[in-house]
């Protein structure tokens, strides 16, 4: 059974809680004590699912969603993790966090309002974070008499915008979360729609090719020594695969060696793949520590101290170009300084803002150049989202202040 992680993005008014409640309820993933919190409108027979996704006391008091919430459900075909992201602009940092974990993003659009700035922002951020599959759910079509014209207009508007966006798999779906149209079965209210319904998408979206199976990358997480004093390098293969007997290159030292054994407590591997957590033993005496990386001679990441990247700022305190920050990349932590802010992207218009003394503050996105005290062993984010991503930490208050994607 496959495990699909997907994000739901939209604000409360877009019907996100209703959608999640509906999905959990209709797939039999709510318990009686949770169903008790659901109310039914006596006139319309509409089911109110809002309380199913009720969060923290602090949130209810303020009538806002502070944080990403995680929910789980399963069907016969797959197990799902819903990463529920609040959509308001001040929660861009939550959306960034949420979308960094998923294969698929569901962006909700209110059929009455069509594509608004917020929708564009959601789509842009999904693409920035490297989401491979995107479904734009045009919700509340019941309030527009299930009109094909309304739906088509929104799809067309969106397609114009999508020309600027780099996501390989985008699709549209007309739904009503409240009435249950096109959620777990095809809606009879929209005979003009010939596409698939939401649960069908969730059950079938092809995710097994999302993983990078080409570029062999093994960052060393720990070094282990057995009772017999055998040294092995412990970690998870990020991408590609490794075979016993194969020649490998150790970065940053550049030393070469050969794989002697790949194993973990469960089994011996001849061939280990992306996602496998293994101990790798090498021939000869090589000096390797946490933060180093194994790859192949003919396919190596680059070692760079000057990093050209996109960052999303997450902290209340703005980027300070005179300050030294910590950068955490793979299992390495070094110091860095921001050399240059090339441009900022306006999250409303997606236009580039250039000029002198640009400053990046909370929830803002920009392209920057930074310099690290020691080389990072990296690929571009586009090629490999693990070797191509990092976080910035403020060493004075310990906060994680930015997320970065290497260009």
């Amino acid at each position: 059974m496959e495990f699909l992680k997907f994000a739901t993005i939209g604000s409360v008014d877009d019907g996100k809680s209703t959608l999640i409640g509906r999905l959990l309820f209709e797939t039999n993933n709510l318990y009686d004590d949770q169903i008790k919190s659901i109310s039914v409108d006596q006139n319309t027979k509409d089911i109110n699912f809002a309380h199913v996704t009720d969060g923290l006391k602090a949130e209810r008091e303020q009538g806002i969603t502070i944080d990403v919430a995680y929910r789980y459900f399963s069907t016969e075909k797959r197990k799902f993790m819903i990463v529920d992201c609040p959509g308001h602009i001040e929660y861009t940092r939550n959306m960034i966090t949420g979308t960094s974990q998923v294969n698929l993003a569901l962006v909700l659009v209110d059929a009455r309002h069509g594509i608004v700035e917020q929708t564009k922002r959601h789509i842009f951020l999904s693409s920035l974070m490297g989401v491979k599959h995107l479904a734009i759910l045009v919700n509340k079509l019941d309030l527009e008499n299930y009109s094909e014209e309304v739906y088509s207009k929104i799809v067309d508007d969106c397609k114009t915008f999508l020309k600027k966006i780099d996501i390989p798999d985008v699709r549209f779906m007309p739904i009503s979360a409240l009435k249950g149209d096109n959620i777990i079965s095809r809606s009879e209210n929209m005979p003009w729609y010939k596409g698939i319904y939401l649960l069908e998408l969730l059950n079938t979206v092809h995710i097994s090719s999302d993983e990078n199976l080409i570029d062999a990358r093994f960052p060393v997480q720990l070094v282990s020594r057995s009772d017999q004093n055998v040294r092995s390098y412990v970690g998870t293969i990020l991408s590609g695969s490794f075979r016993v007997g194969e020649k490998v290159k150790v970065l940053p030292s550049g030393m070469e060696s050969q794989i002697k054994r790949i194993s973990n407590i469960n089994k011996e591997f001849q061939h280990a793949m992306a996602g496998d957590w293994v101990n790798i033993e090498l021939e000869g005496d090589v000096d390797i520590s946490r933060g180093d990386l194994l790859c192949r001679e003919n396919n190596q990441p680059t070692i760079k101290q000057d990093i050209d990247c996109m960052i999303c700022w997450l902290d209340k305190e703005k980027l300070n170009p005179s300050k030294k920050y910590l950068i955490k990349h793979l299992h390495q932590e070094v110091m860095c300084i921001f050399k240059e802010v090339l441009y900022k992207i306006s999250i409303e218009s997606l236009n580039r803002e250039m000029g002198e003394n640009l400053n990046i503050g909370i929830n803002e996105i920009g392209r920057v150049k930074l310099r690290t005290t020691k080389g990072l062993i990296c690929d571009s984010f586009k090629k490999n989202n693990r070797t191509g991503s990092f976080i910035i930490i403020d060493r004075f208050n310990n906060q994680t202040v930015a997320a970065g994607m290497i260009l």
């Binding site: 059974m1 496959e2 495990f3 318990y31 009686d32 004590d33 949770q34 009720d54 969060g55 923290l56 006391k57 602090a58 502070i66 944080d67 990403v68 919430a69 995680y70 929910r71 789980y72 399963s74 797959r78 197990k79 993790m81 940092r93 939550n94 960034i96 966090t97 960094s100 974990q101 997480q221 720990l222 282990s224 057995s226 009772d227 412990v234 970690g235 998870t236 973990n264 407590i265 469960n266 996602g275 496998d276 957590w277 101990n279 946490r290 997450l314 910590l326 955490k328 990349h329 989202n385 693990r386 991503s389 990092f390 976080i391 930490i393 060493r395 310990n398 906060q399 994680t400 997320a403």
Partner: protein
């Protein structure tokens, strides 16, 4: 052995192993909170896998309320011996004697809330910088918003607004002295995942999870086992076939009526049928709508 078609379990296992290894690298003095319940048993099992062929590099810590089921404590001691790890037990009783915590008053006084005091005092006295625990996001709504690496201030408080964003699988354990982290490697596991894994890995769990006959009494809509900590003469005690879905204190862990759940496979079948959520029979959570959130703010795990 036949490779079972359980890819999501493989994914969850890999994720937990990764988190455990990151916790070991980020912190200097980690303890694994072990209660003898199914989640901490699975967590211990995963820790063994994560650091093989080396030994588990953490000590285990149990905050013993003194209100545990005997079965749990016997199981705990056998399990620890088999795992070959060091277990440190800290007693709520001692915190009461020291005068840093007071017993609850009421019909059924519970030590559930004051165990946070004992835990925090252990964290302070032993300079613990990380507690690895088996909490899961699907258990309860305030846990649904937990990080893998959950920051706690010097009072042990969980402040939802002070949590660090967690991107991709890069985790930061940066903190000031006297602060600490709680690390939750099982965050993305559900109750059913835990049992499927227990079945796949043939892990032994306490007998309380299976149907058995015992004397119970009803209190606030929950069946509690008669026990030495509560004067049950005021209640109508009756014998019933029951099992437990969570194992906590006898004073707050509700039993569910159950016959014929004898094996792990039976538990899995039972869960597929059940209409009640896992903590739906936990008296400690039912006290108020935000009971868990409130306890987490004062150092509860």
């Amino acid at each position: 052995m036949i490779e079972r078609n359980n890819d999501y379990l493989k994914a969850l296992e890999a994720e937990s192993v990764y988190i455990l290894r990151e916790a070991m690298s980020e912190f200097n003095n980690s303890y694994l909170l072990f209660s003898g319940g199914k989640d901490s048993i699975v967590l211990a099992h995963l820790a063994k896998k994560a650091f093989w062929p080396s030994k588990i590099p953490f000590k285990f810590l149990h905050i013993d309320t003194g209100h545990n089921f005997k079965e749990t404590i016997i199981f705990r001691d056998q399990f620890i011996e088999k795992m070959g790890v060091d277990l440190l037990v800290k007693y709520v009783e001692d915190s009461v004697k020291e005068g840093i915590a007071s017993e609850e008053k009421g019909v059924i006084p519970s030590r559930n809330a004051i165990q946070s005091v004992t835990l925090m005092s252990a964290i302070d006295n032993l300079s613990i910088d990380c507690c690895i625990a088996g909490a899961r996001r699907d258990e309860e709504k305030s846990r649904a918003k937990e990080r893998f690496f959950s920051h706690r201030d010097e009072f042990g408080s969980w402040l939802p607004k002070n949590q660090r964003p967690e991107l991709w699988n890069i985790f930061s354990g940066k903190k000031f002295e006297n602060e600490h982290f709680r690390v939750f490697p099982l965050s993305n596991w559900t109750e059913l995942d835990i049992w499927n894994y227990i079945s796949q890995e043939e892990i032994t769990v306490p007998s309380l999870y299976f149907s058995h006959e015992r004397e119970v009494f009803e209190y606030n809509g929950i069946f509690l086992a008669t026990n030495e900590f509560v004067d049950s003469s005021q209640f109508n005690c009756l014998k019933k076939f029951v099992r437990f879905r969570t194992i906590g204190d006898m004073t707050c862990t509700g039993a569910v009526e159950s016959k014929g759940v004898k094996t792990v496979t039976d538990v899995i079948e039972d869960l597929k049928e059940t209409r009640i959520s896992e903590r739906g029979s936990r008296g400690d959570d039912l006290r108020s709508d935000t009971a868990m959130e409130d306890r987490k703010r004062v150092g509860y795990f």
